[in-house]
Amino acid sequence: MTEGHARHDRHVIALMGNPNTGKSSLFSALTGTRQKVANFPGVTVEAKIGTARFENSEITVIDLPGTYSMAARSPDERVATDALLGRIEGTPKPDGVIIVLDASSLDRNLYIGTQILEFGLPAVVALTMVDVAESRGITVDVAKLSETLGVPVVVINAPKGRGLDDLKSTLHRTLHHPGKVLELDYPDDFLRGVNTLYNELCDLGVKLGFKPTRPEALRLLVDGAGPFFDECEEVGGEEFISKFFEIREKAAGGRSLSMHEAQTRYGAIGKWMQEVKQTETREGRTRTDIVDGILTHKFWGSLVFIVVMGLIFQSIYSWSGPLMDAIDGSFGALGEWVGGMMSDGALKSLVVDGVIAGVGGVLIFLPQILVLFLFIAILEDLGYMARAAFLMDRLMSRFGLNGRSFIPMLSGFACAIPAIMGTRVIEDRNTRLTTIFLAPFMSCSARLPVYVLFIAAFVPQMKVLGFIELQGLVLFAMYWVGVFAAIPTALVLKKGILKSKATPFLLELPSYKTPRLKAVGRTLWDRGGSFIKRAGTIILAVSVLVWAAGYFPHSQEVDDKYDAQLAEVESAYADSILEFNPEEDADSLLAQYKAIDDAHEERVAEAEEAAEDDDALEQAISESKAERNAEMAKLAAKSADAEQALSHYADWKALEERRGEIENLRGGEHLEDSFLGRAGHVIEPAVEPLGWDWRIGMAAIASFPAREVIVATLGTIFNLGGDEDEESETLREVVKNAERKDGSKLFTLATALSIMVFFALCAQCAATLAVMRRETNSWKWPIASFLYMTVLAYIGALVTYQVAHALGG
């Protein structure tokens, strides 16, 4: 290749190697901020693509997930091979590869190293962790290593920025003058098997749609299963398969082929290492050994673990609280502000209740996601995640999960969204899918408002066994409903759909490292961004759809009816009262009376928060009332005008109340008349056995964008307006007194329990389903989850209602 040609060339480089070897650090050091997450269709693993510059050339770098071997028994494991050979759609074919090797465990790192070298792509070895190796008394002769492998070796330390220029220039040279292909000393029968199979594959080549390579023939021969095998079976049929097994048997010579492969590779590596590596045995234990002595200790280790997990849970739960309130508050304010500038109508409602509320509903999840990933990123970088998995594996394996499932499951109690995103730490696909499926069963914080409303309204305040609050007990039980449902679900998944031959849980416990702020920040940025981009759009779309279903057809008839009522009410009042606007006429006498009244209401609200019991509250209210009356009387005594204004104020207040009532009735009727309300009526027969009526059924549908929406929807349908929350006394009272068509009470304890159980088990959360779709890259899982959980919730609520009802609840 000429110099002129090299000027503007573009190259594609893949980064490969074991996990925890410093690939991502190198990737970041090479590409800086010019990187994005690559979307590999149909798989759950993730790679990143970025660009690096060297002199005049531009290098596209692909950071592949770390693996210990190129063996491809599952589609996910196949990704490494496919990416290396440029067979992934939308991802460029690499012209070369940087093999990242950890000097402190060079032997094991070289295992995949030899596999990659056999593919014969131009390769450079980046040797990392030389500092760690030296601290353990290991020295690596870099020149010897390079000579032995037949490719250049460059020592780097990406976090410290060392060796990067050398790596880039070496890479540049190698791309133009590649080294030799590695050849290992396989047993004769084995090698003959590889060659025979390779020829067979070449014969199949046209039908396969790609040209097979010799290393792939080796993989197919040894792995004997997996996606490549399936493809060959499909195009080659019976004939190929019988030939394949014949070749295999001959090549194996009575032993296992993986044994041949491993012994050949590790045999060669062992021989090389005698020349390349020197180990001087050090007295005493390494830092990692000492720390592990504590962190995996029976007592201290468990204690630290409990404290760390408690901290994570507490943080997701409470640190994110203020942030979420802030988001909620600012979007509420934004909605009001924008709403104030628009005239009433469908567009305003769409913008305020559909779009702004929907965007707020997406962003509200960010704090929890960021807090969880802050911990995951730090603990992963530190090396503690592997220890946590080590500690919890026994417990989690009982449910078909593994130690890595623990943190996502725990996070599920705060919110299923970060929990599902957190399953990325689980390498095994089936375990990851099981964990994703189970996470929404954990009772998240969005269910709390539902519990709080119904427990406060229907569960009597009393103690059982003398000291346990019954209300608290019911709340506690609700948290267990999900767990109890999750256990058999896990076992069914494990035995059924996701049956895996007890996937091995071989876990490297890497040495402890100091977490780097930049890498942690990067993770947070990536996770937050990918949530907003990929899940956010779906959540927003669902919010707008449900808004539309609750808004339309918004018939003129209803509006006319209430406009007429309003006009009638208003006709009894003088213009001065009708037009009084407390914000504009702030100095007027009316406004002064209103200020006195507002102060009274504020005192009452404070008392409601603070009061110990009903008696104290009543007293506080009557005291405040007396104060208000006294102040008003004082103002009225000042002049005749003031006295007259007092009676005007009373009129205005009565008018305001009537206006509010009419607006709430209007909202309620629009909702009943809406598609959502009609849907409620349609499903009424189905939800009747749960003790529900159409209003509850509708509220359940309306809560699809997010469970807590049920509270506001009930507020609207009971004509209280949409601003009620679960702490609202009025809502509690109204709910208690609501009646069915026949005049009987709508809500009983049995109905309340049935609603709570339904919400404990249902998948009424568009965000969860959207994230599930994002993380599994398929609609299959969210749909399955929704159907399964809805059926389960229905049965759970049915049984709860029927039993509680029979017991007289």
Binding site: Y68, S69, A71, R73, S104, S105, D107, R108, Y111, R136, I138, V222, D223, G224, A225, S256, S258, M259, E261, A262, Q263, Y266, T279, T288, D292, T296, H297, K298, F299, G301, S302, A386, A389, F390, L391, D393, R394, L395, S397, G403, K501, A502, T503, P504, F505, L506, L507, E508, L509, P510
Partner: protein, 78 residues
């Protein structure tokens, strides 16, 4: 000299691997991770709940379940 399986090796003891068996995928994984005949392995500790165990092999720490370690045949020289 005595032979046995890795899951039975007491904590703190070392042994040499004689053979590695198990279902194909598991055997392959064990071999890839460096547990193969002729290699020395030391049991470092067990998790507080008794399973999995941590072993040192080829200079690094590996955690594996006892059921998996049962597929590794070993001999102790002491």
């Amino acid at each position: 000299m005595s032979t046995g399986t890795l899951d039975k090796l007491p904590i703190g003891k070392s042994a040499r691997i004689l053979d590695v068996g198990g279902e194909a995928a598991l055997q392959q994984r064990l071999l890839e991770m460096g547990l193969l005949p002729g290699v020395d392995v030391t049991v470092v500790r067990q998790a507080p709940l008794g399973d999995p165990i941590e072993v040192k092999v080829m200079g690094y720490s590996l955690s594996l379940r006892r059921s998996e370690a049962a597929n590794v045949q070993i001999e102790t020289t002491a």
